[in-house]
Symmetry: C2
Subunit: 96 residues, 2 copies
């Protein structure tokens, strides 16, 4: 009975993990489009003001249970990964 409850909670976690994964991939595709856009315009890819705005919006909507600093840390990792994705695409474009 109690083991079943734990299994059910773990199944819920697996489901949320896959939902987060789907959103990360969706985010990655949008980021690639932004990268292509900036590539065409010859604009620099990293924009600290925009990153600050995006993070502020996230923190305004944060309700817990995680600490605010934890949420900031996770999103900064996501932002970093997104920038690397644009940079990889840029390198590939140069090699074509």
């Amino acid at each position: 009975m109690i083991a079943n409850e734990l299994r059910e909670l773990r199944d819920q976690i697996d489901e949320v993990n896959l939902d987060i994964l789907a959103l990360l991939n969706k985010r990655g595709k949008i980021v690639q489009k932004i990268g292509e856009h900036k590539e065409k315009q010859g604009v620099v890819r990293f924009d600290p003001v925009r990153e600050r705005q995006a993070l502020d919006l996230i923190m305004e909507n944060h309700e817990g249970p995680f600490e605010a600093s934890t949420i900031q840390h996770i999103f900064k990792e996501i932002f970093k990964a997104s920038l690397e994705l644009q940079e990889d695409d840029h390198k590939k474009a140069l090699l074509v």
Copy 2:
């Protein structure tokens, strides 16, 4: 026109960020329930086998555009934050 397109893509990113935030918070709440459950059972909180299984399921479902190593890294940060959340709750429970 082109500035509008960039703004629209950024709006999409903001929307996805808030969806990811909502899922992280949802995940945090499930993790807290698992923590309470383990607390009652006197079971250790960190379970590397379970973490490996959860990560394997994520990686089986990963399609890109991020590198697999990037996705692993982000989820390991989420796992770490979740364990810290359980540990904080444990400390609070001891103080009551």
